[in-house]
Symmetry: D2
Subunit: 410 residues, 4 copies
């Protein structure tokens, strides 16, 4: 028998954290006893619980504590972090601490140090700057180098439990999903409000992650307006989105469907290849803009406004465009480097890039996943990102509405 | 071995009728030989094919010809119709001819008589008016009466092959479905155009079939505007739609969600019951309108504008409202009686009522099924109605767009 | 300002009841204060909370308490029930108490009386047997009669909070749905276990609610085996299910697809009509069994084993079969009358009948909704029935597995 | 006005080719006239049609002919191929011919040369071996090199129209999708039969493309059995599939769900990272097998049986495993190099890898896309691959059935 006490703090009842922790313990076949419970009396008070967890042996206890950490449960006696050096580049020491995307602190040299860039499923690398001064950062497995000091075990790591935003909202309880049967105009207005609120904070950025259906559904011009009007600070997409955006602006089609007319235009099936080929000839999207070849659309507005973008490669890419980062590990690293400061993320009809982005985001980023397919929305909204909210709707009509809210005609 | 020749006429290539007929024959394990083929040279010319069908025996041939009839294939030698009397009310004679929803003629007394109200899966009842003058009509099984003369076998029945409308359209080839990835603004404009075109024909009616999600998604006021502006001639719905429409106008909520605010209002879960109870107290929706209790919404506008409606009962109904026809057979009969003249049907986020309506419509009614769930759209669009077109989108945003097209603000 | 204290008892943390109650209060724009909290120390201990709720005025407080009742929150001072007589048949007095499907007690004449048959969205009718002896029962709106005494307001009604079954299970936390990505063999085994467990309790019944896809996916023979082997005590379905079951046994097809071969057989499209017509000729399914016309399938096994069934009508019905109750209000009443004793409900690829059944079931019935369409499963599992669990899978393959577990070949 | 005659040969009626060609012409706003039509008299006879196409100008005619080529329509006077040299590596000459995935011939030096490896959306590169002897091959854009001779325009390129396999099958007409309502046991048997038939041809290979849900649904052991029994010749997957396969064999879990028990096991969330880290320590999956660390599962059986696999990288990858090709262009090239000889492709619960693979396959490869999500199946089955057939079902139960058919217990 092995036993340990963990502590939860925050809105642990209404953010469902306490219930989830109990559930994880029971599902693991372990037992709990509530040692202390101090429930906040009102909506704004914080709560606190101390839970004693008992399992069959030390190793299952370690594993369970690891799991509970994801939900914000810290050991009562956190101890001091143990570190172990990396022996081979890209391979972690056994027993490495696997990060959550919650706000995290590490105790090294008797003090707690904040981890600057929380990201799920990374290692914690600690380095001593001046003697006694430690810096701790999340590092993905492939980037650890021989000699890096990596935190191992759970001692000396503390996280802050996630808190769902509360207050009367059109969003639903206990679900990360807005049903297709809810009034969408209200949801559009709420998302617009969240974007406005984010932008009113100094340094806060809005990230858009776009899939090709944004263009197919006719929403390209609306996203372009949002970029031109300064509402989007950062764009992540793939070869498909950028190609169809460029194709529809250069050749007036998306996948051979005329976006203006909705009818198949001549020259259909090879159009996207021709668009890619021309951009390859210019060498980059920016060069094609400069040369006057590309004169409208989302990518054009990004170039004009200096909005940074990452086009991450995928296996199904034709061409690809010269701006696409074909090495996916390098592409994810490029995305990582731009994320600091993002406070709202809009995932628009994207599966692959949205999941990839969600994996990189800290838990506090407000994330809205918009897709017409409920299964995609569920998948996105369920992936660990405690803050992700799915909206099941037609992405073309949704973005039109968002644009009407944020960029009303003069 | 049994053999018969059948004939196809019309746009049998581009409406896929010939291919479908070949497919049915092969799937039945039978053989065909094309005896004559005369393909229209241009887009507007009709084509004609004579096909010799061979099966193992007479009974399988009969069965196969029955199946081919649904696709517009008539016997070369149609013969004369055989009729047999009904012996027991509501029970058809063995071997009864089962109708298609195509334009149909019956040969009785050496002449071809048109069947006035084609409907799928009915019997053909023939009656002699003046001597030598026959009237043929489709009658559902439950309404045949002892003594009615019912057509049996396939002799003497001719149908007209369905023709898909052609021309450059935003709708797709060989599929009865508009993908969720198509530009929806174009589709909305096209549907609005079809409604306008229908209304420009004398006597043509537009039918709306509405599910509760129309109200939940906030589109109730838009449908009410369409009714008030005279775009809807006929409404089919159920207890749920009417209740939530009334509830949202009387109490400002739909299923406990405030449609204005998107937030749950107090008094939620029982609101729909209270709304139903009050209408029951008044005795009918019209009485509640007259008494000033109900002062807005779709049902209110129907009462004011004299737009007839059928509220068909379903097992899950609470209450129900006094206007609901709780006997489903009687409800379907009420729907039937209102269908003559309908030329466009809009199925809006309705499954049950849309399928029920689709079963009753002749093949020539242009039908648009709008739902966010692809599986529902597929189911509706595939059910025999050759003319049904599914649109996968958010019904609330779709109706908003349709309303903007048809009832623009002054 | 209006204030009242409510109490929650049970597994209010891990069944999420406390969090849900807080959520409802905040969503209603009201405030709460936790007056007392006593959290169970271990997994098996019950918890208790007293919450003071404050709203702007008395009427909004009444409405909010009504809402909280659905989640198991009772007033601290429950008072005594007020009753008011029905004046017109089928119309409730204003302010009627609208029932939940939780275990319920009513206080009349200074004592608490249990409500025998909890059902959502009904009235509570109280009648005095012997002086001082009260009987309370749920009565749907349409069945109240002039003179019935109906409980009005919230005083004197107490409910028991729902408790989700706990323990290590393959089912997920906080969601009423099993993802399509979970190992289905385990889920099948778990459902089989729940059925076995239910059957081991004296008097407990298993209800199957079947949609037509059960037959289309080839699972008809498996359901028939389950009926024959005594695992199903009660069957609810519609005209479509029964017709396709009979058609596939009499004519070897379901909707014109040969179930044995998967190929379209001759005589397809009218087959279901012919099957219905023959049963109409016999007068009932039982008569057709007795006459030797129907010799296999689910309906046949129900007749043979004396398993009661309700075939509830729906608007889209062809025929219908003579056993179909075409008045939906009468059909729901027939279903109601058979429900006492049901402890497990299997909803198999049914939407309409499953929702209708779910509305009638008390909260304690374990309900499994199996469908391939996630949206349908979500809809079913979310409808108030706290205990419903959705399984997204292929219903044909699921039932095959269930049958293998419960009726293994000798 | 510009005019040209094109010819279609093959099963142009029942494979819907003629109808599709007419549709493309009308949708492009052009006109057609059928110059000759010779329809095969029976199911096995070929048909032939000559169609005169008229458009407004030469450039729109060129574009339309390009589009018609995808559907198998060749010019009556095919002329001789024009070639143009590549000037910059990876950039095609303007007007390059964009390939279809149909069997293709190029006319160079007065003779027709077959194109060995048809692939959609590539260039045709021609090279002269011995004088007068030409070799033509498809080359993706990124691999053309300065100096390569690329076919430009449409002259001198001929394709063979696709033919859908006919005969009585459980698969449906005009749709590339098996509805979720069809009897799945029949579909499983049919797919097993197609696999057997493929394997009976000398040199024919069966390709499996697997997504992570294969493991999550518990089908990993079944796929491993299929590999071990020699039914799978080639495996394409991603980091997720391989990781969860390895994790479930090394640690007994998939994404923290115990596959044996269906319950969350301790050590959950970081398990996949630990599995990846260990394989990285060994340097490759094969090395981990050799060292005895990995002792079961799909990847293990592939290593043992020498079945080649490509693990293509994607943006969302954790780790990744050392075998993952992180450059997506290189990964697609690796997949390309293994495709010759593939005659059946099974796409199992994979979206990204399935689409990527479908883009690379010639039109004649029989492809089965199995997924529980109808939208995914539709997307896969619709992407140009004329031969792809979608099956909407639970992939875990489907593979279990396939395994029972192909690897019955002794």
């Amino acid at each position: 028998m092995a036993t340990e006490q963990v502590e939860l703090r925050g809105h642990i009842i209404d953010s469902l954290i306490l219930a989830k922790v109990m559930d994880v313990i029971i599902d693991a076949g372990a037992d709990y006893r509530l040692v202390e419970v101090d429930i906040g009396r009102t909506n704004t008070d914080q709560s606190r619980a101390v839970i004693e967890v008992t399992t069959g042996d030390d190793s299952s206890l370690e594993a369970l504590l690891d799991e509970l950490h994801v939900h914000g449960a810290n050991r009562i006696d956190p101890g001091t972090a143990d570190v172990s050096p990396v022996e081979v580049d890209g391979v972690l020491p056994p027993g490495f601490y696997s990060t959550t995307n919650l706000p995290t602190w590490v105790r090294l040299g008797q003090r707690w140090w904040p981890v600057g860039n929380p990201e799920m499923d990374c290692a914690l690398v600690a380095s001593e700057g001046q003697p006694g001064e430690w810096v701790a950062r999340t590092v993905p497995m492939h980037r650890v180098c021989a000699g890096d000091l990596v935190v191992v075990g759970h001692s000396g790591v503390r996280v802050e439990a996630p808190n769902r935003p509360r207050g009367a909202t059109p969003f639903e309880f206990m679900t990360s999903e807005v049903s297709s049967e809810k009034p969408k105009a209200l949801i559009v207005a709420e998302v617009a409000e969240r974007v406005r609120r984010a932008r009113s904070q100094p340094g806060a950025k809005v990230l858009a992650v776009c899939g090709p259906a944004v263009i197919h559904t006719g929403a390209g011009p609306d996203v372009a307006r949002l970029v031109a009007a300064g509402w989007i600070d950062l764009l992540f997409a793939g070869n498909g989105f950028a190609t169809h955006d460029i194709e529809s602006n250069v050749l007036g089609t998306s996948l051979g469907v005329s976006v203006g007319e909705g009818t198949v235009v001549e020259g259909g099936h090879a159009n996207h290849l021709r668009a890619i080929n021309e951009i390859r000839r210019y060498g980059s999207i920016a060069a094609a803009v400069e040369a006057g070849y590309l004169r409208g659309g989302v990518m054009y507005e990004c170039v004009r406004a200096g909005v940074p973008f990452v086009l991450g490669g995928s296996l199904r890419d034709d061409g690809p465009l010269p701006d696409v980062i074909t090495d996916v590990v390098a592409a994810a690293d490029a995305m990582r480097s731009l994320l600091p400061g993002v406070s709202v993320a809009l995932m628009l009809a994207s599966t692959l890039h949205a999941i990839a982005t969600g994996n990189l985001l800290p838990a506090w980023v407000e994330t809205f996943c918009v897709d017409i397919n409920q299964a995609v929305v569920t998948k996105l909204a369920d992936r660990g990102s405690h803050q992700a909210l799915g909206v099941v709707t037609d992405v073309g009509l949704f973005i039109r509405g968002l644009c009407d809210q944020l960029c009303p005609p003069a």
